[in-house]
Symmetry: C2
Subunit: 203 residues, 2 copies
DNA sequence: AAAAGGTTTAACTAAATGGTTGACAAATGT
DNA sequence: ACATTTGTCAACCATTTAGTTAAACCTTTT
């Protein structure tokens, strides 16, 4: 068994596939392009991953597995709602600055191929909103928070953090900002977003 | 000149192309599929639109032209900021419920082919944030609004209104809602979103 | 050092895909 | 009525693309 070579080849394929799939999506990606990116023969892709679809699933899985756990900071941590919002916004934006194509990739492919995400559910258990719902209900009941459904608050937190990355080309045009100016805006949002949300929900 | 036939054929091609492109994107769409959807021969697509790319541009243009003007309600109307936010949120969500694939299509294709959006700029003049910026600055200065940059407020308004449509498959999973339950949430957001934003910015 | 077994490559295949052509039909002008 | 233009289609073409194959190539084992 040639373990060393196997590992590095498989890893370099995955890395290349990630680059190409994240930039071009399933439909726009070409197996030859992935092979070129990895600097190997196209047959290797099939040798290690059998088909384009399986290679894509491996990439999607990996991408999803890096993003999904971050939701747990909001949904399942034990801290207060304010701390969760502050922590999540800061950490999430920091993370996505380092992986700017991830959110768009995942949202796009979930829209494209809804059914295959259902496979993903059973194995990789989705984060659940249950605990967060109880926490919000409680704080609304005791008057600490303005009345709001946990679902809406969750959607709002996601929207404010994720949307700027998904819509960056549009926003850059409307705001008429350069790349660096836009990066500065994003940087500001690490604190701006949490502040905005907390102002909206605190009594 | 066979004007009647020309008009109906061209229109049915555009309609079919819209359906296919909006669901599958440029890369995922097939010319044959568009022809089938329109119930005509594939040659007709080239007869009327020359190439896949030109047909796609026609569809994108039309899609963009229906969405862009809505931004003017926020950016260039003469009403108060509160009224703008209330009006826009309600109108926009109502509109997108009727055209659920539009926002995702536009964001996705702007991410995919950034340069060709630049062509679009010169012809179809992009909405500008100038006026809105002045209005926000003024209201922050006179103490009516909490301090916030117009850019962030604009991004937030866009995010809260658009994101739920773009991320619906993900949100449905995390929130564990049925399609009808999710539709109800969206319906609630027609007022919920504006309320949330106004709470966040009013002193 | 030779067999064995996993790894890699060039060449190949079959199907799909965007686009073209030429024949033909339908409408329009004279 | 007849010629000309315009619209439509089936068949075709060139290229691209995912996937296959068989031989070569290492690396380890014996």
């Amino acid at each position: 068994m040639n373990k060393r070579k196997t590992n590095t080849t498989e890893a370099s394929i995955l890395k290349a596939a990630k680059t190409i799939f994240l930039h071009k999506g399933m439909d726009g990606a070409r197996m030859q392009e992935i092979a070129d990116e990895a600097g190997i023969n196209k047959s290797m892709l099939h040798y290690y991953f059998r088909s384009k679809e399986l290679l894509f699933k491996a990439v999607f899985m990996e991408a999803f597995s890096t993003l999904a756990p971050q939701l747990n900071e909001i949904l399942n941590a034990d801290s207060s709602i304010c701390d969760k919002i502050k922590g999540f916004s800061h950490n999430y934006i920091t993370f996505v600055i380092a992986h700017p194509y991830l959110p768009n990739f995942i949202l796009q492919e979930m829209n494209r191929n809804n059914e295959f995400v259902n496979d993903l559910i059973s194995k990789n258990h989705f984060p659940s909103i249950k605990k967060f719902k109880l926490q919000v209900k409680e704080k609304v009941a005791d008057g600490t928070l303005r009345p709001i459904k946990a679902e809406h608050l969750f959607i709002n937190i996601m929207a404010l953090n994720i949307f700027p990355f998904v819509a960056s080309p549009l926003l850059k045009k409307v705001l008429d900002t350069s790349d660096t100016q836009f990066k500065n805006l994003i940087e500001e949002r690490k604190t701006e977003v949490a502040e905005f949300i907390i102002n909206a929900i605190k009594v």
